[in-house]
Symmetry: C2
Subunit: 408 residues, 2 copies
């Protein structure tokens, strides 16, 4: 079904011009894992010295590739590394056969590249519970290895898509000690999006030098305010994987550097938002800003309760400024709220305050806000200093069609 | 929009023949709170001596009538009592005006019936955040009081409907010490259904004598395995109210009686299932049986994760035996699971076991199960003795239409 869906109305105009990251090369191929007439495997080969950090789903039923990657973080960075991703089949809930497929692929990738098996990371995304035809992937490794190209990141972003309607990329350049450090990343994700630790598949590369433990800590921290703050449908994938690879080719040590952290956060936030913009059936991009909560954690609980409410999301799809449903979601979230201190705005329009509709509110002002493609819902609890911002999309007929009418 | 929707395909053939409960009389009227051409207020008057128990939403933004009822449980049962319910407007998030409306209605009901204000319970259901035109309700109280009738329970069930497509009732008779005790109840609910303490509006009457504290404890206990185990859309109402009134007119003391408890549980379970059968847009009634969990609480966590998953619910709508999405929901629930001990069946068809699809499973067998109107999903975690059963419906285009295209 990939390719069968129209491009999201919230998609960016074009794939961004990404900086080339020295020390990593990409190739794609059509292995026919499930889809016909498109690429479905991506190989990335990383030079010796690259540090690798990763964050993965906490799902109790996570896939064999996820478990394999988790076991391989923090291995000796002195040798080359490789990442092999396929789309069309998630190799999740495939019993012992799942690990067999991972082992076969890792062994073959190690044989054809300079990467030891302990530095070969794989990921699979697509249907759950069907055996992965790993022979088809292994058969393409010679072609992939011969075609490695440092400029092929857009093709890589396209090869890992499933129900995505556009390839997702983001990049940044930052100057440290007079030298330029580059960051470029790709992501896939459209449905089954409510990351609990990372989201879907995300690969970010930088030519900075960053010590592995610092890289891992930085990735996890930024993940909490980017990928872990988005939801399309409250469902969490068995394959969520986010990896960050620092090749060090710039010769610049960015460990602990604030500008680097800021640039990395920008790239991760951009990719996270693109996943929401490609949410299955999405027609509205929604930012929910929560302030005045008892704590940041409680602010996020309120934000996610609003973002995951089917009644809020269908109201947005219908362009209905139905703030009563926002009140409902706050009430059910489990976090602290006081009806009489609560205020709610749609964009800059104050809708409700002090436990009731604002005396200045006009329904036509709320309705005008809801007609926008991008909607901001602001909630102030009036209780403390806790804040959070989360992102979601609307819930439309197209979401039902995508998920009821096909097996994805 | 009430009445505009076609009757749910999962609705029972007709309203049940309910036993008449001595000691309580009902009347309905058309006050024009919001709807035209239908009844929208219901008055029940209870004889002196009736004990009253109630369970209410724990929403932090719960309505003024809910707060008022909560404060009035356990008042002296020696005098008459009354219940006044309106549909079309929930009187929730209406600031201080909300309590004013409650006070006006309670005062007027008390004046016209023999019930003291401390024994007048009200409920309002419908749109959130609009002032309740309580004058229209008060103006109908004379008509209501003159029309009180002990046989008018079906009319009462119809008057409290909002997006419901059929009135919901259930009853039972039980013999205690050679005498007959009767139970009859009504419910409304269709969307915003994920009760956290009770659900929507439910009123149950019995002619048993039951001491108030015992009645309250029994209601709360049964609520946990009936109304608190259903979900339509994971959203929790600001108005959820469940009340149980024991008139004592049978002269039979049923306090602590096991047969009475069993009959009451049957009535409550029946009403809870009718709410699911009238879930907005529902075409499938789904029972999820979870066994082998670490605890009953963890079993319920797994069950509700499956029942609330949009991807599971859309697969059911599409009659797709997509057990991979059940695996996903178990994985994300947060409760303990071991992929290699898990087994999943659709009805009597074993689909997956030991971390993979069962060798005996045939896709056509799973597909045949999904074509039924009533579907059972069985999950065994293989970890312990914890069990839970929860109920839900599918997620269809009609749910989106109901909630995106109208303000309900």
């Amino acid at each position: 079904m990939a390719g069968a869906l129209p491009r999201s109305p919230l998609a960016p105009d074009h794939f961004p011009d990404l900086p080339v990251i020295k020390g990593v090369r990409f190739a794609t191929a059509s292995a026919g894992v499930k889809y016909k007439g498109r690429t479905d495997v991506m190989l990335a080969v990383l030079d010796p010295g690259t540090t690798v950090a990763g964050v993965f789903t906490r799902s109790k039923t996570r896939s064999a590739p996820v478990r394999d990657c988790q076991a391989k973080l923090g291995t000796d960075p002195s040798q080359a590394a490789a990442i092999l991703v396929n789309s069309g089949n998630s190799n999740a809930f495939t019993g012992h056969y799942g690990q067999t497929s991972v082992t076969e692929i890792v062994s073959a990738v190690s044989n054809i590249t300079a990467a030891p098996q302990s530095r070969v990371y794989t990921a699979s995304t697509g249907v759950i519970g069907e055996p992965l035809p790993h022979d088809r992937i292994v058969a393409k490794l010679g072609e992939l290895n011969a075609g490695l190209d440092e400029t092929a990141l857009e093709a890589a972003a396209a090869a890992i898509m499933t129900t995505d309607t556009f390839p997702k990329g983001a990049g940044a350049e930052v100057t440290i000690d007079g030298k330029t450090v580059k960051i470029a990343g790709i992501a896939k994700g459209s449905g089954m999006i409510a990351p609990d630790m990372a989201t879907m598949l995300v690969y970010i590369f930088t030519d900075a030098q960053v010590e592995q433990a610092a890289l891992q800590a930085q990735l996890a921290e930024i993940c909490n305010c980017s990928f872990n703050c988005i939801t399309v449908d409250s469902d969490t994938s068995t394959s969520d994987s986010l990896m960050l690879c620092a090749t060090g080719a710039s010769g610049v040590d960015a460990t602990g550097n604030a500008e680097f952290a800021q640039a990395l956060e920008g790239v991760m936030m951009d990719l996270a938002h693109q996943v929401v913009r490609d949410g299955e059936g999405a027609t509205k991009f929604v930012e929910i800003q929560v302030t005045g909560a008892v704590s940041d954690a409680e602010a996020k609980t309120h934000g996610m309760a609003i973002a995951n409410s089917p009644l809020v999301k269908t109201a947005i799809a219908g362009e209905d400024p139905n703030w009563g449903r926002v009140v409902m979601a706050i009430g059910k979230s489990g976090a602290e709220a006081d009806r009489d201190r609560l205020s709610i705005s749609f964009g800059d329009v104050l809708v409700a305050e002090k436990g009731w509709v604002s005396p200045t509110y006009k329904e036509e002002d709320g309705a005008a806000q809801m007609k926008q493609d991008e909607i901001t819902i602001k909630v102030d609890l009036g209780l403390g200093d806790g804040t959070a911002t989360v992102w979601t999309c609307d819930l439309t007929h197209q979401y039902i069609s995508i998920n009821a009418d096909y097996r994805s």
